[in-house]
Subunit: 240 residues, 2 copies
């Protein structure tokens, strides 16, 4: 049984997502969300410090629903390609109602320095949950994976999933049919890549690819200076 | 010596790019471009059928400038990593004045079904030119490349370059310093990948990666139905 507080939280996210879809993310205010949800503005701010945090709540919920949806296939299937295809297609199923929102929201989330980006420090919780699904995909597969790649591969698989998400956003085919096909093809390719990664000669390449992504995506590393810290002043409306 | 016609063409592109930067792509009309360039609207339309075609002209010009800029390094350098790093960094140099424009233009070009996307059929000319640079990078390098990969690898290298472009668009560091570092790291990784691709066991994977991209990126293939042909009606302003 969800507590009253959990219910209110869910209601606010629900309402926000509906208003974001109806009016657009930029034009929806916290005040309007509170009003529609029938809670006080103060109460809405008690649960979420702002719109960005509502999006994080939404990411977390998608991640949780996804984990729930893949439980069956991850418990039963042992073929790596089938496990991964199942996981990717389950994500497409869950995200389907939000496709239109994703299209217009994309311009906010595409900037890797935005808190709304899946690569941002703010998105860490949802990202860690999503990567944990890929860890489980690998762990339960009969394909053998070298010890040294066990932490690296799930992150790369999640990055590939982000590629699928990008493709899905722009997919205008009926029922996002092409995205489902890409999920299958991507799963096949990934399974082949994982199985080739057992060759010792290839492992440094896998590490190098992983390092490249973690070094250059903010929020995935602390190794590089945070460019947000020395952002130029905004071009317009530069009032103090 | 450029002909009068070439000069007018260049002047229109120049003017368009300036107005796009000043007013934004969406808010700039062909009429305004013609006026600013001091040509008649009919004349402007004689050279370019619309704004999209101006962008194609711009892509073509960037590609031509890039080919010019890399001539030296491609003639002298034989190390694959150095050739590729030189080519990528030359692109960053040439694109530097257009960074601000690229940031705001991105939302138009990110949709792979848009004629403005680098993957569209409309962008084919600029794309073929850009891929030909990568063919030259490979051809003149001392690294041996299997015959069967000679057409496939340059397209994958160009795709990796598109990844760099995406990163550059969102790069807010001083002088796009991180993009230059990514160019170097990407070149190193690619050179390593190309040299590993000599192993027979890996070649099917390279082909599969290439096939995945060409099958799923519109304009790069005729194998899949063109989703633009069955685009839904626009949501607003649906007047006949």
């Amino acid at each position: 049984m969800p507590t009253k507080s959990e219910q209110t939280r869910a209601l606010i996210i629900e309402t926000a997502m509906r208003l974001f879809q109806e009016r657009g993310y930029d034009r929806t205010t916290m005040r309007a969300i509170a009003q529609e949800a029938g809670v006080s503005v103060g109460n809405a701010y008690y649960y979420f410090a702002g719109k960005e945090h509502l999006i994080q709540g939404f990411y977390d919920r998608i991640a949780a629903e996804h984990q729930e949806a893949v439980r069956g296939i991850l418990a039963e299937e042992t073929d790596l390609e089938a496990r991964l295809a199942g996981v990717l297609k389950a994500w497409l199923d869950i995200a389907a109602p939000y496709h239109e929102f994703a299209v217009q929201f994309f311009k906010n989330a595409a900037d890797p320095d935005s808190p709304l980006s899946p690569f941002s420090p703010e998105s860490e919780h949802a990202r860690v949950e999503a990567i944990s699904v890929h860890k489980e995909v690998l762990r339960g597969a009969k394909t053998k994976v070298a010890e040294e790649l066990r932490d690296v591969l799930p992150e790369l698989m999640w990055l590939a999933q982000m590629g699928l998400v990008l493709y899905w956003i722009f997919d205008r085919t009926e029922g996002r049919e092409r995205s489902y096909r890409l999920a299958e093809r991507g799963a096949r390719l990934t399974a082949r890549g994982v199985s080739l990664a057992r060759f010792r000669v290839l492992r440094p390449l896998v590490h190098e690819v992983h390092e490249l992504f973690t070094d250059f995506l903010p929020g995935m590393t602390k190794a590089l200076p945070d460019p947000a810290a020395r952002k130029e002043a905004p071009a317009s409306d530069g009032r103090p």
